[in-house]
């Protein structure tokens, strides 16, 4: 029985030293000059703009990746075509790519000076790099696989019997999808959406490369944390970190609420 307590002690001790205490310290540091100071730090115009920009990233990337995720999962699970295995493998690629490489990749395509289509776009007045569209593309890239990965196992699990029954009864493809398939996979989609939101909110490296880090213009919440810290405004950095940490805890809560429902189907 002694070994049981030893194992528990090692596991919990490791988690406390790696996660618990450091994260708690950010909260303590953010509020050490009072809640008012922390509140003022996250409500400056720059901070507000940074959180607004992060919201835009999420608002554009998440719906697009959700639609893609469901279409892609349907194609991989329900269809037979050449390139299906390749599609299934390629979807995971963003997991294997460093965020900095994602940023570099976008720069090489959309860069204004010597990107593939950047100069042409620039002539037509479209700026991707050092501007919001590039940052959105970076966010889409890094958060691409989550919905697909969550929906594929659920689709496999529910099988095709109900869809076939609906089709036999005269439902067309869209009716079958919206009234049979989608309700059956909704918790899988929801779980994938939560993961996508978390990834989109927290992206730093890829957005950093393509943003140009223009304070008050192309600075998302995570870039704001870095720039505040580099400028020795530690209260500003900690306060914004606390907001992001609270969003992370909300993510964990949502994951916990959705997971059991997904298991029930």
């Amino acid at each position: 029985m002694k070994s049981k307590y030893a194992l528990r002690f090692v596991a919990l001790g490791y988690l406390a030293l790696l996660l618990g205490i450091p994260v708690a310290l950010v909260f303590i540091n953010a509020f050490q000059d009072g809640i008012g100071t922390a509140w003022n730090a996250v409500t400056t115009p720059e901070a507000q703009h940074a959180f607004w920009l992060t919201f835009i990233m999420v608002a554009v990337a998440v719906p697009l990746n959700t639609v893609f995720g469901v279409l892609c999962a349907l194609a991989v699970v329900r269809q037979r075509f050449r390139g299906r295995a390749l599609l299934n493998a390629m979807v995971d690629l963003p997991f294997a790519v460093s965020p900095v490489v994602v940023g570099l990749a976008l720069l090489l395509v959309y860069g204004r000076r010597d990107g593939w289509i950047g100069p042409w776009l620039s002539e037509h007045g479209v700026q991707i790099i050092f501007s919001t569209p590039g940052m959105i593309l970076a966010t889409i890239f890094v958060s691409l696989p989550f919905v697909v990965r969550e929906v594929i196992p659920v689709l496999r699990e529910i099988g095709t019997e109900q869809e076939q029954a609906a089709a036999t009864l005269g439902a067309n493809g869209l009716q079958t999808f919206f009234r049979v398939t989608l309700p059956a996979i909704r918790w899988g989609v929801a779980y994938g959406v939560v993961l996508t939101i978390a990834r989109a909110l927290g992206e730093f490296g890829a957005v950093s490369v393509v943003s140009g880090k223009l304070s008050g213009r192309t600075e998302t919440a995570t870039l704001y944390v870095e720039s505040r810290f580099q400028r020795f405004d530690e209260t500003g950095a900690y306060a914004a970190s606390v907001v992001l940490a609270l969003l992370a805890f909300a993510t964990l809560l949502a994951m916990n609420l959705i997971k059991p429902k997904e298991a029930q189907g």
Binding site: L18, V26, R78, M90, S98, T176, L244
Partner: protein
């Protein structure tokens, strides 16, 4: 297998999915690969063999290997405690395992800097040393092995273990001869994901490692520096090395996960 959707919808759906994936991810990644060999194989080779690039790749690979080994041991231990042990607050600890995934990496780096940096309340300062790279990577890769091992351990029937114990096997022998062989595929699968994540990590390293060339500059930070100093070929060449390393590791991981599935059937 009969189709639940009319053919036109099928083709449209997968057409949209494949186009989206290509535009968002595949074409930009192709740009990186092509850029890396823009000046021919010699230029590629000299770009990845500059002293600074080699140092950055070496530091990244060694730190990632250490992190994977620690994760394999402690991740398995944590999964064991979360499945086989009972203690108050267990479900909260279980949810917190996903925190490194939900927390933005820049915030992760900042929290670690607070506890393990120059102003550490316990006097442990690893900032700007190679140990800080290992620390940051341990934080961000924590969930992989735990979450891979947990479901396997939950499914594992304890009857075999009880039988072995009743025949006089010690706890250590039971774990080594019965539990561990069953967990190995999951441990390796989780370790593979952790490795792929570790070699590309950027955000959590930015603040705590100091990014000192030849000492604490990781590969992703090196790439970032090359982008900033307008050396896209150097950046792309090291990116390709990282990509290849991640893909090779994920292939090995895929092989093991398939083998594990075959065992179950």
């Amino acid at each position: 297998m009969s189709r639940a959707f009319p053919i036109s919808g099928d083709v449209l759906g997968r057409g949209v999915a494949m186009s989206y994936l290509s535009i968002v991810a595949l074409i930009p990644l192709a740009a990186v690969v092509l850029k890396s060999v823009d000046g021919g194989a010699d230029t590629f080779w000299s770009a990845v063999t500059t002293e600074q690039a080699v140092a950055a790749l070496k530091v990244t690979l060694i730190a990632s290997l250490i992190v994977v080994l620690v994760n394999a041991v402690l991740g398995t231990l944590i999964a064991w405690v979360l499945v086989r042990d009972e203690f108050p607050g267990k479900s909260i600890v279980n949810s917190l395992i996903d925190l490194p995934f939900a927390l933005p990496t820049i915030v992760a780096g900042l929290t670690l800097l607070l506890f393990y940096g120059p102003e550490s309340p316990v006097g442990v300062n690893v900032a700007f040393t190679r140990a800080s790279i290992v620390l940051a990577l341990l934080f961000v890769t924590l969930p992989f092995v735990v979450r891979a091992v947990q479901p396997v351990l939950l499914e594992l029937d304890t009857e075999m273990e009880q039988a072995a114990e009743s025949l006089g096997a010690s706890k250590g022998t039971v774990f080594r001869r019965i539990v561990l062989p069953n967990l190995t595929p999951a441990i390796i699968a989780g370790a593979g994901l952790a490795f792929a994540r570790a070699i590309g990590e950027f955000g959590s390293l930015v603040l705590i490692t100091g990014n000192i060339p030849f000492k604490t500059q990781a590969a992703s930070v090196f790439i970032y520096a090359q982008v900033e100093s307008d050396n896209p070929i150097g950046a792309a060449a090291v990116s390709v090395v990282l990509l290849l390393a991640a893909l090779v590791v994920l292939l090995i991981f895929g092989w093991f996960s398939k083998r594990a599935l075959r065992h179950e059937e």
